[in-house]
Amino acid sequence: MKNVIKSTLAILTVFAVITSCNNSKTSNNKSGALASNVAEKVYVAPGEHDEFYAFISGGYSGNLTVYGLPSGRMFKEIPVFSQFPTSGYGYSEETKPMLNTSHGFIPWGDSHHPDISQTNGEIDGRFIFINENNTPRIAKIDLKTFETTEIIEVPNSAGNHSSSFVTENTEYVVAGTRFSVPIPQRDMPIKDYKGNFKGALSFISVEPEHGHMDIKFQVLMPGFNYDLAHPGRGASHGWFFFSTYNSEEASTLLEVNASQNDKDFIAAVNWKKIEEYVNNGGGTMMPADYAHNVYDEATHSATSTMIKEVLVVNPSEVPGAVYLLPTPKSPHGCDVDPSGEYIIGNGKLSANLTVHSFTKMLDAIKNEKFDGDAYGIPILKFEDVLAGSVEQPGLGPLHTEFDDKGNAYTTFFISSEVVKWKLGTWEVLDRQPTYYSVGHLTIPGGNSRKPQGKYMFAMNKITKDRYLPTGPELEHSAQLYDISGDKMELLLDFPTHGEPHYAAAMRADIIKERSQKIYNLEDNKHPYAAKSDAESRVVRKGNEVHIYMSTIRSHFSPDNIEGVKLGDKVFFHVTNLEQDFDVPHGFAVLGQNTSELLIMPGQTKTSVWEPTKVGVWPFYCTDFCSALHQEMQGYIRVSSANSDTPLKWSLGEDIE
């Protein structure tokens, strides 16, 4: 009898599968008329440009990648926190200081959340900022060149995760700490975490003209984990919101111990109030040790400066500056809608989305409706600040973005989908699956007052069978959706590089009008530049040999060098004399174990070579620069340490 039931069930199940299979086929067949529609929507004809550019974080690659939308084409990988062989970034003498920290030179990083600079709450396309999570740093990339031009280390921080989000006039780029730590760092028992560790929220001012970064102040918060953040905008400009978890202040087995409280908090920080306090002499200057690395486009060189102090603020000393908004179950994403009214807490262990109201928050503050405090910071009542909840939209909410029509789009990791819902009514309007297990999503202009609700792309954590299943390591998959209609429509699959924790996207035309094509040779202030063939030369300083070398299609000057000895440290300072768009030259010498170079027109870059063998060694251009690229070569003669070969060089004639 039992067996019969079993078999029946099995057969029924199989039938169910087959039936559903047939259904899907039917729906395929009836839709042939629209066959070319989707392809046309993502087709960018040869020579045409994409309408939007997306900057997608490279996660554990430490870099930032540039993609076109809607084509999904990858245009560039911008090296930020990791050495990058393609251009020699982090290997060449000029760029090594970019990766300097108070812990020494760090060759790799974990990049997370890019955010584009804004003016009046709209994306201005000048800079993009991105955080390094592991050894806390914030980088600035210039969107006129797609080059990393500045990196500042963040002291007192650890796991720089709720970063690097900009305020609506790029007054600040903000960096919050995931790990709370002893501040100042000291040797103490881990079990004494509670009450002793602190979480630093860093407000890094951005100088308007060049974007230079400077840590204006750090708010030393209770020892929670600060997960993500977003700025207020419009009416809420001047505030910043941080999601927190582990308000339990546990230091071990957080998957259990940080999930004990029914609610954690979103911390609302009135940074304008703290700024005023600091400008009036408030705060305490404490000893610190952090690197500030700046790339100078005139000298084509980076410098690293160690800074020894930082201004810290205890929030309980600034009344009215910080409040805690109870938010269910370890919120991850903390997103603010384009109007600045709604603050969305994506409680990753909650099945509901919590939306707070900025207006109600101000009201509750005004009427002092507090529900106790945490280390002197007032806690507001959940019901008093709640605007509404989206009930059971999916499983495992992570991030929310917005369009320009009052809709929000939230990713759900566990149920692997994007859900579209309406701000104000909180009703679910549409859901589309992602392939698979989506993390972040992006809408161009999403973190601004004016998102462009045409496309949305979802960045997935799991790829599995989307491409050939050759693994174990797979590039992650992303999906592009058309969101211009009532329902989201899947358009395209494209692979992303590293792990895209976040992305920022914007209109491509804003980038195009600011693009820089070459470096002006006349403006080259590199101390070792050779700005013409005539300026090229070789200079010995003790055991250092400095070669002032120039390149132009299709030769190096000099291209014959003698008089180098074993034990010498040879500096190839290579200047690219070209002033034509897109004519870089490369440089490599046999046995070079430091850095190859790729030198842009008008630029000077340096590679150090410490020859280990006597001989005559070739060097050549590694970038196919011209019809006579294969002729672009030279020799350097290395003699024994005690030889008396004179230091000589030439171009076009023999060394006599």
Partner: protein, 193 residues
């Protein structure tokens, strides 16, 4: 012997599902259409239907492969929750046996399996899922567990064993994306939170 039968059943199922998926793919390559996308979002596509004969079975595979959980599997399918159960998780599924379902008042299961009760069924099933992965012994450390339907289930320790919402853990099977604890009762979500 019984195991062999179960395995055969699972493979048969997989074969059907997989051939179905291939059909979809062929269609996709010849005519990528707007409503093709709708078929992609059809409930029988997604992570649950990926062919993977190398990885450790997921919590869903384990449930499908168990002769004692045919009711649960039928319920999961009726509620279209397959894809949620193959996610990276981690997921801890409390899997009531067929006997546990049979112990419910007569007609309860049949009623829940009706299409119009899909949401109610999904809510009950999600009350059996915790985002987490804890062994039976470890569960004694908890007072309550936050379930996927947004409600809590209480944990009590009786004679050194964790009782989950009054249900006893009969067996535990480790999965690729979490763990399945076989329980002797169906957990019914509290009507008021």
């Amino acid at each position: 012997m019984k195991t062999t039968k179960t395995i055969i059943l699972v493979f048969t199922l997989m074969a059907f599902i997989w051939s179905c998926k291939n059909d979809n793919k062929e269609n996709a390559s010849t005519s990528p259409t707007a409503s093709e996308q709708e078929s992609v979002s059809n409930e029988k596509t997604g992570q649950a239907f990926i062919e993977d004969d190398e990885g450790k079975p997921t919590v869903l595979n384990i449930a499908i492969g168990s002769k004692d959980h045919t009711t649960l599997v039928a319920a999961v399918q009726a509620a279209s929750l397959e894809n949620a159960l193959v996610n990276a998780g981690p997921l801890m599924v409390f899997a009531p046996t067929n006997e546990a379902f049979a112990a419910l008042p007569e007609g309860t299961v049949d009623n829940l399996l009706k299409p119009e009760n899909k949401d109610a069924l999904a809510n009950i099933l999600k009350y059996h899922v915790t985002p987490g992965n804890y062994s039976k012994e470890f569960l004694t450390k908890f007072k309550k567990l936050g379930q996927a339907n947004n409600q809590y289930v209480m944990v009590e320790v009786v004679d050194g064993e964790p009782m989950i919402g009054g249900a006893k853990i009969l067996a535990s099977v480790k999965a690729g994306n979490g763990i399945v604890h076989v329980i002797d009762k169906v957990l019914l979500p509290p009507t008021e939170e």
